[in-house]
Structures are given as structure tokens and as C-alpha cells.
């Protein structure tokens, strides 16, 4: 289908200049980064946390076979997880579109599953799936399904009402709308979603190896860090990042031909759907009941021992009716407060940084050649490797953890915001151009409003990501907060506390998500009404 898009005419000569620019920039920036990196590594030689490009290359050459084999295994697991997770997301999105009533419940359940702490799920996946690659693939799939689902839901709605009316006027139903209009409109968003999912899948597969795997990049990372082998640690981290960057680019190229943005000029304002309080309360109750049923039923169906797979009733007893319930709640609340103290500022900083960088890239396209690879690399270098480095650089206090959270948030935000900024309809941009409107005004008045749906999708995705990042940093580096509490309780079989913390984390993610969604609705009522249409 050809979207009615016009592009700004560019003089061929100008195009050549624009094309030559990035290459020179790229070479220069890569060289600059390498030099800075080597210098930084040499300055910190005694600290055993950072290896320079020379040492890393030497290690990589000497251990090429080992690294290639491990990378192959991790990549295969990540690819399977990527496939299954995204297929699940597509199926869920299609189901929601055909039965819109399902949306809240499905998205909430998907969110809950996505933000389940690895400390709780790892051992269960290992017991349920046995030795081998099962948990690695499952964790990679869990790491991608949710972000893809959100991206798809936005994309499937990014269609002008008039097109849907056209299909209806031909007497065709929702199926035809899905096939001919919504699916096509969703492709660019799906492409952006898949690109975000690439590093997440690799990270998921690596963390999956922490649950007791024989081989893979995650296994080598643990070993290298304990052995003070910084060269190995960074060689592995860079391989993981390199794979993620290549896959990211490949998806960009592969899906490039579908990313002509659809025009949203004629989007009619959404009919003011005022859902009653009763209906909302009903949806909430259904979601909570479904979560509890899935929790209890899933554990029962798998026949998991109540020793380590605690049920909702156990958690309720532990937190409410037990003799020591008050002290249990106090311990949980104390750790929870610490985590929020890190997660909230990190989350906000990550969103601001992502959206800000996206705007900067649109204003100065040359920046993209530096910012994007660096952003993908930052997001792809496994957090297990970067956490100690950031902690060394920024200290063990609040700054280190907040930075880790912000780094995890800003990449998906950047990708989504950039995608959104480029969705500004060509006609609108043309009109601005014909009035010789400045770049800043065009950005503020045309591009930013077009960005908002994608930005808010990223903000919603960021909720569980922020919690995951904060708890992972606490688990691996600082030992504080709810992540530290969960690690401690898991190692000492304190499964009541572990599952209480898990339930609290899931509840927090759901509430924070609902809060962001509420802000989003208020904003999009003005700027993106088609997103609110049901």
C-alpha cells in the first residue's frame, strides 16, 4: 500500500554533501572513541575494571575459538527467545485488536510477567525446564515480548479514521482493517520494537545462563570477573554489544523498506469515551484475579514444590496473618523505599535524556552517527559488566545506581522518540518549510506532537525496565534495597520474603504503568486522538 506521503525535495548536490558528511563523522568519532577508551583504561590500569581496546583485541585473538563458540550458543538462545517472544507479542496484539475489551487485562498480565524478578523466576525456570537451554530461551523471550506488544499496539492504531471508514464503506470488517490498514501502519512501529528487543534478548539469554548453564557468554562473564580477568570481561561484553549492534542495524535495513510513515493528517478526534468507574473497577478486579489465578494455577500445574514456589496464600499469611507479619512488612517496606529512591530519579533522567537526544539528532542529523551506535553499545554491554565500572566511577551512593537505571531507560526512549519524531507527516513538514519556519519551531510544533505516542509507549515500557535495572544493580553491585533483599532471601531459602517482594514489585510496576497511562491519555487527547480510539 502506498501511503500518501510527499517528501521534501532535496537538491542532488545537497544530498551528496549530506551523505559524505556522516562517513567522515563516523570515522572520526570511532577513532576518537577508541583513543579516549584506551586512555581511560590506561589511567585506571590498577583498578582492574576497565580494559583498553589493545588488551581486549589481544585477548579476543588469543581466545577466538572459545569466544566464538560461547557467542554462538548465547546468540542461538537469544534468537529463539527473540522469535518466541515476538510471536507471542504479535498474537497478543492481534487478539487485543479483535477483542479490545481484553486490552487492559492482557497488557497488565504481560507487564506482570515481564517484571518478575529474575531472582525469583530463575530457579523456577531451571526446575521446570531442566538442564540445557530452556531457561535462557525463556528469559530472552520474556525480555522481549512486552516491549514488542506495546510498540505493536501503538502502531496498529496509528491509522487515520478515514481509512478505516473507507474499508467499512466497502462492507469489510475488522479482519480486513487489520490486514490491509492496521498491519501496514504497524510495520514501522514493529520495526522499532524489534530493534529495541535485540539487546534485550541477548541480555535475557546471558542472565538466563546465571541459573546454572554449562556454557555461553554469561558463563564466561561470571568466570572472568571472579578471575580478575578484565581483558576477558570486556572482550565478552564487546562481543555481546557487537552482536546487538549488528542485529540492530540488520533489522533497520531489513525493515527499512516498510518504514515509510503513514500520514495522520486526517485523524478525527477520538469520540469521548467516558468509561464509568464501575467498568474500570471491574477491569481492575478481573486483572487482579487473573494474575492470582495464573500464579497459583501455574505453580500447581507445573507441580512446583511449595518450598520454593510460594503461592498467594503463603504471601498473604507472611505479610498479614503470621505472628511476625509486622516485622516482615517493615523489612520489606524499608528495602522498597530504598529502591524507589534510586529507580524514580533514574527513570525520569532516562526519559529526559532519551527524548532530548532524539530531538538533538533531528536538529543535527550528523549527531546520529555518533549517538546511535554509542547508545546501542551502552544498552547492549551487559549490565553485569557496566555496573561495577559505573559504581567505581560514580561511587556506591545514589549516583551510581541512578545512572545505571537511566542508562537502561534512555536507549529504548531514544529509539522510540526518534521513530516518533520522524513520523511527522510530510505534508505538515512541507507546509512549515514553505513558510521558512526555523528548525526549532518545526521541532516543537510539528515533530514533537508526532513523537508523543511513541514517547509515551517508551515511558510505559520504561516502568518495568527501571525497576529491573534498579533491582539488578542492587543485586549485583550495591547489595541494598529490594534487589539486595531478594538476593539474600533467595540464597537463604527465605522464599516467603522473596515472593512477597516479587508481588510488591509486580504491583508497583502495574500501578506506575497505570499512572503513566493516565498522563498519556490526558496528553494524547490533544495531540494523538487516534491512539485513544477503540
Amino acid at each position: 500500500m502506498n501511503a500518501p506521503v510527499t517528501r521534501r525535495g532535496t537538491h542532488p548536490a545537497a544530498r551528496i554533501v549530506v551523505r559524505a558528511g556522516p562517513v567522515a563523522w563516523q570515522v572520526l568519532s570511532v577513532a576518537g572513541l577508541l583513543v579516549a577508551w584506551e586512555a581511560l583504561a590506561r589511567l585506571n590500569a590498577g583498578s582492574y575494571v576497565l580494559a583498553g581496546p589493545v588488551a581486549v583485541t589481544r585477548y579476543g585473538v588469543e581466545h577466538a575459538g572459545l569466544l566464538a563458540h560461547a557467542a554462538g550458543i548465547t546468540l542461538a538462545n537469544a534468537a529463539w527467545g527473540f522469535l518466541w517472544g515476538n510471536l507471542a507479542a504479535v498474537a497478543l496484539a492481534a487478539a487485543i485488536l479483535l477483542v479490545p475489551r481484553l486490552e487492559r487485562c492482557v497488557v497488565a498480565l504481560s507487564l506482570v510477567v515481564f517484571c518478575l524478578p529474575l531472582v525469583a523466576t530463575g530457579p523456577i525456570l531451571r526446575v521446570a525446564l531442566g538442564p540445557g537451554n530452556g531457561p535462557q530461551i525463556a528469559l530472552a523471550a520474556l525480555a522481549v515480548h512486552y516491549t514488542t506488544l506495546l510498540a505493536l499496539l501503538v502502531g496498529l492504531r496509528a491509522v487515520p479514521r478515514s481509512w478505516l471508514d473507507l474499508v467499512e464503506s466497502y462492507g469489510r470488517g475488522a479482519g480486513a482493517q487489520l490486514l490491509h490498514i492496521r498491519a501496514m501502519a504497524a510495520l514501522p512501529y514493529l520495526a522499532a520494537g524489534l530493534r529495541i528487543a535485540v539487546p534485550a534478548a541477548i541480555l535475557g539469554a546471558m542472565v538466563g545462563e546465571f541459573t546454572g548453564a554449562e556454557r555461553g557468554l554469561g558463563v564466561l562473564t561470571i568466570r572472568a570477573m571472579r578471575a580478575l580477568d578484565v581483558d576477558a570481561t570486556w572482550a565478552i561484553a564487546l562481543i555481546a554489544a557487537g552482536i546487538a549492534i549488528v542485529a540492530y542495524r540488520a533489522f533497520g535495513a531489513l525493515l527499512g523498506f516498510v518504514t515509510d510513515p503513514p500520514a495522520l493528517l486526517l485523524a478525527a478526534p477520538a469520540p469521548a469515551i467516558r468509561r464509568g468507574r464501575m467498568r474500570r473497577a471491574g477491569e481492575l478486579a478481573v486483572t487482579i484475579l487473573a494474575t492470582l489465578a495464573l500464579w497459583q494455577g501455574g505453580m500447581d500445574a507445573l507441580g512446583l514444590s511449595p518450598f520454593f514456589a510460594r503461592r498467594p496464600g503463603d504471601v498473604l499469611a507472611f505479610l498479614v496473618t503470621d505472628a511476625g507479619a509486622a516485622s516482615h512488612r517493615a523489612a520489606l517496606a524499608g528495602a522498597y523505599g530504598e529502591t524507589l529512591f534510586y529507580a524514580v530519579p533514574g527513570y525520569l533522567a532516562g526519559l529526559a535524556l532519551g527524548a532530548g537526544l532524539a530531538c538533538a539528532v533531528v536538529l543535527a542529523p550528523g549527531l546520529a552517527t555518533i549517538v546511535l551506535p554509542l547508545a546501542v553499545a551502552l544498552r547492549s554491554v551487559p549490565i553485569v559488566t557496566t555496573a561495577p565500572l559505573l559504581v567505581l566511577a560514580l561511587g556506591r551512593g545514589a549516583t551510581g545506581t541512578i545512572t545505571i537505571v537511566a542508562v537502561m531507560i534512555f536507549f529504548p526512549t531514544l529509539v522510540a522518540a526518534l521513530q516518533g519524531l520522524r513520523q511527522a507527516p510530510g505534508q505538515v513538514i512541507d507546509i512549515f518549510a514553505s513558510y521558512a519556519t526555523g528548525r526549532w519551531r518545526t521541532l516543537a510544533l510539528a515533530r514533537v506532537p508526532a513523537m508523543l505516542p511513541a514517547f509515551f509507549a517508551a515511558a510505559r515500557m520504561g516502568v518495568p525496565a527501571a525497576i529491573l535495572a534498579a533491582t539488578t544493580a542492587e543485586w549485583l553491585a550495591t547489595g541494598r534495597g529490594i534487589g539486595g533483599l531478594m538476593a539474600l532471601t533467595a540464597s537463604t531459602s527465605g522464599y516467603n520474603m522473596l515472593w512477597s517482594a516479587t508481588a510488591l514489585v509486580a504491583l508497583t510496576a502495574t500501578l506506575a504503568y497505570a499512572l503513566v497511562a493516565r498522563i498519556e491519555r490526558a496528553v494524547l487527547r490533544v495531540y494523538g486522538p487516534e491512539q485513544l480510539a477503540r
Partner: protein, 337 residues
């Protein structure tokens, strides 16, 4: 369940693969085990990634000590997010490698475990420091910054109580489990195992001062073999066979730790193990595992006296257990006490 062991793969459906798919969980254990003539599949859950730390088990497998018993033992590696207790409770593993404190904690949470053997007579926990600012006795800890996982606070508390050290005089810095914070000067000492981080430092030509906590009253069995009460009744023969292989393997290990290190590196080429590191680790591990007691009674042995000392240390760690946590019947059958 692993995909290559599904029952659906009809041509490969041997009794081994049937048991391997977890026949016990399907309630078929009785059907699948009419006699002992054929090989039985069992799993041993290790407490960490493959390394020479479990070298005796590798020898038992490599030299056929288990095959001789009609046992095919799968060695399941552990990891940072792979607690030992769940797979043993779930029956995925017949035996797990735990430690007395973790086992006591699990039992307090309702897991029906017994300790059936003790690989590390001396606890490997140690305080590692640099020669310029050493910790040689517990008193030296006062005024120092110690890097450790907060999860190990009870360990430090117990050491302080045992030696009259003021805990408040020590600054605890939560760190990841690696030696970098010590070398970067972020901390003065580390709480770690004597057999891993100090070895890693030695490999970088940094000879650390290592104070073994077991030499200062911290009596706690480590690398203990745990099994469920149910297994002790219903799968006794397999437990005996498994432990017989372990004893033979570890006896060989003590005689030639370097050979164990070479075998480890050969068996796990994908693990990125360094031979020199493994040799040093193997050598440093031997004195923790073998003592006059094991020389007299055999590998894995424990006595009412060592158990009593453990119970005292466990009380300091906040774990209230009795001697019934230990069950020596399997070892008695093997060592003929």
C-alpha cells in the same frame, strides 16, 4: 525437561531416558526401577559453575567409579542465580552440594534435608588483604573497610562474636564478589573463599594475606552433600552408589590435585578455565577437605564432636538446629564404621 530426552523420541526410549525425563515426578519410579542390573540416571547439583572445586566428582565420572556402580551421574552446574536447594527438593537432583548454614536455613523453611557427607571439613571463608595493610588475626579487622556481599553479614558477625572483635569498628562496603575493589583501594580487605579470589590475585602476581576463618573458631561444614529424607529411605542404594564414587574420586584428587585440574580443563573446554589457576585452586582446596579425621575415617566423615561445633557456629548465625540434621548412615555403610 531437556528437549533431547523427551519420551516422544521413540527410538531413543530406553529406561535411562525414561528415568531421565523425571519418571519419579510422573509417579513411575516404581515401574522404572525393577532391578539394579542396568544403569540408573541420577543428577548431582553442584553449587557453582564447573571448576576444579568439584574435581573429585569429575574424576569419579572420568574413571568410571560411578559406571562401576551402575550409575550414570549428570553433573548440573550452579551459578549466581541457581540455588542448590530447589532442584533437590523438586527431585531434579538426587544430591546437592550445599553448606551447613544454607541447609539449616532451608530446613527452617520446611525443606526435608539431611547432610549425608562433608566434603570441606574446614570452612573456606577467609579474609583476604594486601601485605601492606594485612589482616592476620580477627582483631586486625577493627578500623578496616571490608568489602563483602551484604548477604554474608551474619558470617562477619559470627566471626566477631567468636573473637571478641567490635563489629561497629568495621566499615562494611557492599561489593560484587571480585577482588577489584581491594586492588582499587576501595576496601582494605575482602570476605571471600580462600580458594578463589586469593588465587585470582596470585595469578596476577599479587600475593594476598589470607586469614582462614576456620582457624579462628568459625566451625562450619562446607560443600556438604544434602539429600531429602524421602531419598534416604526410597533411593538409598543410589545414594550409597553415588557417595562411593565421590569417595573414590576425591581420594584420587587428594593424591594428585594437578591431575584433577587437567581433567577439569579437558572436560569443560567451553568454560574458559585456565590450567595454572585450576592447579593452584586444587592445591589450596586439599587441606580444607582432608584432615587427621578423614585420614583415620575416610573422606566426608563427621563426628558428634564436629557436629556439635557446627551447631554452636550455626547458633551464632541465628540458625537453631539439632544434630539430627546430619545423617551418617550412608557413610557408615561405605566406610564400615
Amino acid at each position: 525437561m531437556t528437549r533431547d530426552r523427551t519420551i516422544g523420541a521413540a527410538p531413543g526410549l530406553t529406561r535411562r531416558s525414561l528415568i531421565g525425563t523425571g519418571a519419579a515426578t510422573l509417579g513411575l519410579a516404581g515401574l522404572a526401577r525393577p532391578g539394579f542390573a542396568q544403569t540408573r540416571d541420577v543428577a548431582l547439583q553442584l553449587s557453582w559453575l564447573h571448576s576444579v572445586q568439584f574435581g573429585g566428582s569429575y574424576i569419579a565420572r572420568d574413571r568410571g567409579y560411578w559406571a562401576k556402580e551402575g550409575l550414570d551421574v549428570t553433573l548440573l552446574p550452579g551459578g549466581p542465580n541457581a540455588p542448590v536447594e530447589p532442584p533437590v527438593v523438586a527431585g531434579n537432583a538426587l544430591v546437592g552440594i550445599s553448606a551447613a548454614d544454607y541447609t539449616a536455613a532451608a530446613v527452617a523453611q520446611g525443606a526435608p534435608f539431611r547432610i549425608i557427607g562433608v566434603a570441606m571439613q574446614k570452612n573456606p571463608f577467609a579474609i583476604a588483604s594486601l601485605p601492606g595493610n594485612p589482616v592476620e588475626v580477627p582483631k586486625d579487622l577493627e578500623g578496616k573497610r571490608i568489602g563483602m556481599a551484604l548477604a554474608n553479614m551474619p558470617v562477619l558477625e559470627a566471626l566477631c562474636t567468636l573473637n571478641g572483635v567490635a563489629l561497629t569498628a568495621i566499615e562494611v562496603v557492599p561489593t560484587q564478589y571480585d577482588a577489584a575493589p581491594l586492588l582499587a583501594g576501595q576496601v582494605d580487605c575482602l570476605l571471600c573463599w580462600a580458594t578463589d579470589l586469593p588465587v585470582a590475585m596470585a595469578m596476577e602476581d599479587i600475593e594476598a594475606v589470607t586469614m582462614l576463618m576456620a582457624d579462628h573458631g568459625y566451625a562450619l561444614h562446607s560443600q556438604t552433600y544434602i539429600a531429602t529424607e524421602e531419598s534416604l529411605v526410597s533411593r538409598r542404594a543410589e545414594l550409597v552408589a553415588l557417595m562411593r564414587g565421590e569417595i573414590a574420586g576425591w581420594t584420587d584428587y587428594a593424591a594428585d590435585p594437578a591431575a584433577a585440574a587437567r581433567l577439569t580443563v579437558r572436560m569443560f573446554p567451553d568454560s574458559g578455565l585456565d590450567l595454572a589457576t585450576q592447579v593452584m585452586q586444587a592445591e589450596r582446596q586439599v587441606p580444607l577437605m582432608f584432615s587427621p579425621l578423614t585420614d583415620a575415617q575416610g573422606f566426608g566423615w563427621f563426628t558428634p564432636e564436629t557436629v556439635a561445633a557446627n551447631i554452636e557456629t550455626l547458633a551464632l548465625l541465628g540458625r537453631d538446629v539439632g544434630p539430627e540434621l546430619w545423617d551418617r548412615s550412608i557413610l557408615e555403610e561405605l566406610h564400615g564404621a
